[in-house]
Amino acid sequence: MTTQWETVIGLEIHTQLATQSKIFSGASTAYGAEPNTQACAVDLGLPGVLPVLNEQAVRMAVTFGLAIDAHIAPHSVFARKNYFYPDLPKGYQISQMDLPIVGNGHLDIEVDGETKRIGITRAHLEEDAGKSLHESFHGMTGIDLNRAGTPLLEIVSEPDMRSAKEAVAYMRKLHELVRYLEICDGNMQEGSFRCDANVSVRPIGQAEFGTRAEIKNINSFKFVEKAINHEIERQIEVIESGNKVVQETRLYDANKDETRSMRSKEEANDYRYFPDPDLLPVVISDEFKETVKATLPELPHAKKQRFIEQYGQDDESASTLTSSRELADFYEAVVKDSGVEAKLATNWMTGDVLGALNKAGLEISQSPVSAERLAGLLKRIADNTISGRTAKQVFDKLWNGTATADEIIEQEGLKQITDTGAIEAIVDKVIAANPGPVEQYLSGKDKALMALVGQIMKETQGKANPGEVNKMLIEKLRG
């Protein structure tokens, strides 16, 4: 009998907090500057310098804690994590160990239509290290300390996930949340949102966890899924061939799609954590918590429920349109500006707008068509100035230019013919010119009607309202 395996996954996610300055110094956190131009005396770890905590980072950590319904520690402590590395200027990282700022919380994910609650053990504040640059220094290593001291919130989940799919769903949900809260820009290419995964397997039914491996630095949703699935297979293979999984840290190689060992438990550092005597304990008052709570935005889940109720959206549309705060805001701006029925806006957003953005590889914030210009278009559909079909042409022009929908309709003469006399003349003309299809329709072939409508639309250059045409044609044919 072959054993059925169950996977157990916990994630540690490092989110770079979107503060202007570093967690313990006044240097800028902007990405992409010339090496070592954003590293002040404190970031360089010069003799005698001292850290001063950035209050904004604390506020962001508390914001996150409140959003996941977590315990906010009234008293949390920074500790020194000691290890030597050239891009770690002080020889220790200031982090939190025994008393993190955010305690027990949770996040609900949805996988295959099922909702599952994932526990979040803790989230703590720490400083990032710099970067070692191994290229182009002739056998030497360059050190760039611009990133040193950038604030991170390390979010540690419970080992509650049972598949790579769940892990990805959790990661996406967290990614969505931190951007909603505007505490992290979520830019994975720039390393603003990085993931380490703890993975183990055990025979189904076994209560104890298997030995876990930690996979470091998996920096895209796709890689997380691949890396975890790869690791699951590897561990099952190890066990099934009679060996034991060893506790170790493994690195995912996206090019080869494999994980390889970095260091074993025995080689692991003894970080000799102890409270940092340069920093006072962080004290969070109830009052502070309340002020932060008051600034919390509507969270994704609540927003989705509201979209379903307020705009009559189905579950899928609501999920899509609330997947980022910018997208939801865009949608609501369109509804508000246009004053049209919400359904029309929903269809355009989930269809044409997101389709065009995906095709162009753009975020909603980069959309060439603003909410206001889109609203201008929807207004003209709703008041029958243009047909839905014409609207698609106008949208293309909105996308590729700067004119408003009204300007485009005017310039291109796309206004729908509302003069029934003019349409009637064309209908009569088409009926007279197409005795065949008329005959077919009257003998019961409904399809023939479409050919006649098509002819009429062609004659009107699409400017007639297809519904009107249809109605008029049937009336005339039925006499």
Partner: protein
């Protein structure tokens, strides 16, 4: 001129009896003349004269403080912009600080003239100034003896009239012990009273900068300029700085003095006891009430200190890795070689010993037994002081077990060396302010009396010390050959 105190010099400068430039020249000349004391690591002649000229201009315009134009020695632990800052170590022999410590900035704003940077035990680890990479500083009272440490260069400079006053730092006694051994006045303020920014860290939770002067009045003037909240130091305390000169002349009638019986045991020899008792008798005559108190946890101070301070220093000194500044070994083979040789070649024995002790105390499996236990002891010691200071206004006792000991005498025996701080270390653990004032001599060597006060009660300490100095002359004694 070089025997005058800050207060006296300030008058002379204003009266035009001499200029700051003249005063500075006199001191620079003395420094070079007495280089055998090895008090200075760096003498900043040119900078000093520039500052003196600027001070004279300020004095002439009437825009001057009591410290304007006063020549000072900075302990080489304070970063000084554009000036070598060595911390007494080969590791920083090539380190030119790119910024000023807050204390240095504040003193510069007050108009001081920096004569140079004075010698110290390497990274402030030592009680004799013998661990300095630059060799031991000598005690001007007897050049075969040590000046104490770690602020030994500061104490010698002030005692030998190679500076009017000096800055020091005190982690376990490093201001008070050398002040006692050199017969000057030294004050370790409450932890958090003086900014630590730019003061190279030894043990961050204990380090505190303070004044080293010829009199309590001078200490008040210097502390006035050094103290205050600094937003760059999270552990500095945001509390207004009182006028330290205001209370100097308050009578001491009714002052309650506590003498911990744990300070006056058989370990303290009879000469020391007699000298201190004579000192305390002056206070009785000034109307103070003296009573014996008990602080049973004091005996645990040294073991607790030698866990906490090395633990903190083991992390504080990790930044000296040969990567960004300071000493780097020649031709490192790889990263591990760069680290081990740079640190191995540039740190002295005592620094290595403390890094090893601290690393050990923080290691997995030992942390609770050492570091956590030491922190608990620290709390007990603080409680003992708190209880005692609820009963009495100040606590008095010895600063050191003996007067200055011979150069080389204790270097080979670290434990014996550590015991020279037995009366000072507990105060750092509690974070309290304390002073050392000259209280007599044994065999021609000065003896210090320690006065310990409550948190932020520096004004009272200065008052208590000043009143003593109004009725005694110990602080006015000048070592032979330096008059």
């Amino acid at each position: 001129m070089y025997n005058l105190t800050i207060a006296e010099l300030a008058k002379g400068l204003r009266a035009g009896e001499f200029s700051s430039v003249e005063l500075t020249q006199t001191y620079l000349q003395r420094i070079h003349q007495h280089s055998e004391l090895n008090a200075y690591v760096t003498v900043t002649d040119e900078l000093a004269l520039q500052q003196a000229q600027a001070a004279d201009a300020k004095l002439a315009s009437g825009d001057a403080s009591l410290l304007t134009g006063i020549p000072i020695a900075q302990k080489d632990i304070f970063c000084t912009l554009g000036v070598k800052t060595t911390c007494g170590s080969k590791m920083l022999d090539n380190f030119i600080a790119p910024y000023n410590a807050t204390v240095v900035d504040k003193l510069n704003q007050a108009g001081v003239v920096m004569l140079g940077k004075v010698n110290m035990d390497e990274f402030a680890m030592g009680s004799s100034n013998e661990t300095s990479y630059y060799g031991p500083t000598k005690n001007p009272w007897n050049t075969n003896t040590v000046p104490g440490g770690s602020s030994g260069g500061s104490a010698t400079a002030v005692a030998a009239r190679l500076a009017v006053c000096a800055t020091g730092t005190d982690t376990g006694g490093s201001i008070r012990q050398p002040a006692a051994l050199c017969g000057i006045t030294g004050l370790k303020p409450t932890y958090g009273r003086v900014s630590r920014y730019g003061m190279i860290a030894y043990a961050s939770s204990l380090d505190q900068g303070g004044p080293m002067t010829r009199s309590a009045e001078d200490a008040a003037i210097l502390l006035q300029a050094m103290a205050g909240f600094d937003e760059k130091d999270s552990t500095s305390v945001d509390q207004p700085v009182p006028n330290y000169l205001a209370d100097l002349n308050k009578p001491l009638a009714g002052l309650k003095i506590g003498l911990p019986k744990e300070f006056f045991t058989a370990d303290l020899n009879s000469d020391m006891v007699a000298t201190l008792e004579a000192g305390i008798n002056h206070y009785r005559q000034l109307g103070a009430e003296v009573k014996e108190i008990s602080m049973p946890t004091l005996k645990m101070a040294i073991p607790a200190y030698y866990v906490i301070a090395p633990a903190e220093c083991s992390a504080n000194l990790s930044r000296f890795d040969g990567v960004r500044f300071g000493y780097r070994c020649e031709n490192p083979a790889d990263l591990a070689d760069l680290y081990t040789r740079s640190r191995g070649e540039a740190f002295g024995k005592e620094v290595k010993r403390r890094i090893l002790m601290g690393t050990y105390a923080l290691s997995a499996g030992y942390y609770d037994a050492y570091y956590i236990k030491a922190q608990k002891i620290r709390r007990l010691i603080s409680d003992d002081f708190k209880n005692a200071l609820a009963e009495v206004d100040v606590i008095m006792g010895p600063v050191t077990p003996t007067p200055a000991f011979g150069i080389g005498e204790k270097l080979a025996n670290p434990i014996e060396m550590y015991l020279s701080d037995i009366y000072t270390i507990a105060i750092n653990l509690a974070g309290l302010p304390a002073m050392s004032i000259p209280a007599g001599f044994i065999n021609g060597l000065p003896v210090g009396l320690q006065i310990i006060g409550n948190y932020f009660d520096e004004a009272r300490l200065l008052n208590v010390a000043h009143q003593y100095q109004q009725v005694t002359g110990w602080h006015q004694q000048v070592p032979k050959g330096f008059e």
